[in-house]
Symmetry: C2
Subunit: 452 residues, 2 copies
Amino acid sequence: MAIKTILSEDKLPTRWYNIVPDMPEGSLSPPLNPGTGKPIGPEDLSAIFPMSLIGQEVSAEQYIDIPEEVYEIYKLWRPTPLIRALQLEKALDTPAKIYFKYEGVSPAGSHKPNTAVPQAYYNKEAGIKRIATETGAGQWGSAMALATQMFGMECTVYMVKVSFNQKPYRRSMMEVWGAEVLASPTDRTQSGQKILAEDPESLGSLGIAISEAVEDAATHDDVNYSLGSVLNHVLLHQTIIGEEAQLQMEMAGDYPDTVIGCIGGGSNYAGLCFPFMRDRLAGGKDIQFLAAEPTACPTVTKGSYTYDFGDTLQSTPLMMMHTLGHDFVPPGIHAGGLRYHAMAPLISALVDSGNMDAVAYTQNQIFEAAILFARTEGIIPAPEASHAIKAAIDKAVEAREAGEEKTILFNLSGHGYFDMSAYDQYLSGKLEDYAYPEEKIRESMEKIPKLG
Amino acid sequence: MAIKTILSEDKLPTRWYNIVPDMPEGSLSPPLNPGTGKPIGPEDLSAIFPMSLIGQEVSAEQYIDIPEEVYEIYKLWRPTPLIRALQLEKALDTPAKIYFKYEGVSPAGSHKPNTAVPQAYYNKEAGIKRIATETGAGQWGSAMALATQMFGMECTVYMVKVSFNQKPYRRSMMEVWGAEVLASPTDRTQSGQKILAEDPESLGSLGIAISEAVEDAATHDDVNYSLGSVLNHVLLHQTIIGEEAQLQMEMAGDYPDTVIGCIGGGSNYAGLCFPFMRDRLAGGKDIQFLAAEPTACPTVTKGSYTYDFGDTLQSTPLMMMHTLGHDFVPPGIHAGGLRYHAMAPLISALVDSGNMDAVAYTQNQIFEAAILFARTEGIIPAPEASHAIKAAIDKAVEAREAGEEKTILFNLSGHGYFDMSAYDQYLSGKLEDYAYPEEKIRESMEKIPKLG
């Protein structure tokens, strides 16, 4: 059973940690304007983001204060528990200690509100009335619906049509929080109209939904766009997870040898691991960092580290990152939050500089781990988070075989209560293990722009 | 926004509170054997319950220690937070302070595991290998699946067929926790066979499912039956909620004028309010107790206080309680957990002795309250718990109108993440307000047995 370490409220960290000034010398490359090939400036982003967030995107300050108004909303679910998985340890018969930080206690059920709330706040401060954003499986859209509702703002969510039809409950959740949810492609934007003209039956894609939301923001003065991962300021906001975990590990009288998380765009893992990475980069601590991704979308384990677009329609700046190519569309795995073609530049640079390792798992591997976790620790994990569980279990088994008393810490980024049909498929033996999509990856990698 | 009062783990209450010795003189009437009309003895229950639970059912001790093994599992999610709903207060512009205790943080999403865990534990101690139980909407079945899994026991859940078909995700949840879930009526029991012989297409009912589970337990030596509400020992286990809330209110420097909860069988409200009722009955404190129920199943507000059966098929002892008649079947409201025809004898006696009031609400009233709550406090509440929210809002508005600084405490017994289709119906204006089923109630009341 579990030992739950609870921070008292007066110990809630009051600052986010910005890893940029601590990154290895020369490991970061600036985003480029695809037209000029030159580094972009704040003005390139100001049509869709407020200056305060652009400032955080490029900040060289090591710490940034959490505004009081954000802190007040965080307290609806933060601090989140740090839990020692004693029963899982027992089931694995391992000498390793396994801790996890549980972000599924937020009202939206994942870590996403950690950044949705400050993004809504800074936009409201800048006089913005409405946020336009996209959502695939619905995690990000529901976090933004919650956040805008808390600040009395409007929210328009462009939800990929296939998910809009298949996941009506995530849509209802956003509507409960007052958001307008549209099945993308819509006829509200030129991007959507163009797609519908070509294919009136189009079921949409994340790339199309991003284009619609960005266009909505760019063409309305009082509307901005919001992104749920990848960018520096998003990862910054998530560090509240790791800052709490540092205090909680101290309360538990322990410190991790290995810090684990799943990666899609990279934000939940960055959130947990950056404060520990600070101890490695600036403090020289010997910690292993392990990121887990799906074999069906093996961005870091199989992708290139190069400049590429953040979206399919090539509307973003070029970023230096691990990528499978901007028009790579992965198979329809249940871990919808990990189906992004690229990786946050900060995470990519840490892998490239040898500070972080990555590993990839199949669907059946991660659901096997998820079931063991649910049957020992009670919580039914999201398929995304189950990649981290699988990596933690593997590390604990390794420790058993080596007879070593390792301390493992992982991020349980969300619960799986909206993913029960995936569990059904697994339990009835019908879950597909997509073969590594080698051909598709080769094709899309060829479309990565060649620079210089 | 919220103030969250978190108990440190070393303050987790270690005893349950048994209200029986503090009940008003002469307010309790013993359960009767329907055959003899005489009070039942332990032997009448020993075929389906372990002696330790039968002992708790009739105990005169004021406190009962929580076994270490149960305490260890409670710590997976307990202590649960006590939250001050500052943003809801602001929206209501009320001088009242509104606190709620949040039981939705348990892995099963409700208060039900508070009793499922000790019931599994005591049965395991008694050498029982498998628990047979019934479930309607799935809350109780999933709590018992979780609890038995934690103790390495087997679990068979007879799930009402109409829910089995309509709520596949609750079923999946139970299967993730290793339970066998059967669509009732089944052909495994004589009760089920009898129903199927009459109507092969029967969609089942809670009454039939109870009969199947009881028969399964009664006909197998190493199998026992388990009930999720109504009985004294079930309410006893739930008092962990109120014992924590007492400590947390003290930490917050406050004390409630009004204590509110929703009632179906009565267990979640009993859990929160009994420790405060102790302060009224034994300590003379002036506290108002208010129980909220659906107008579609108005057990306390419209039922009789008399001896009746706990199940449709008349297989239980006769209990003195508020009842709409044992074959009353309420309309299919979304608050499935409040569709029971009767009320816990302890709750009924408190109402009858003038220590507790009750109020009834329609579906649209409670969903209106639920939406306001979700949009202010973030959490999407279960339809059952929304009855308590509605009552708390009404009390807060009353305080505003009277210009009084009242302190209101209610139990938020579960989250609504498995109830999004109900929210959909409400938001699209399609939610039905069932008329008070006067005719049906009159008919079923006529079938209540006449004694003496």
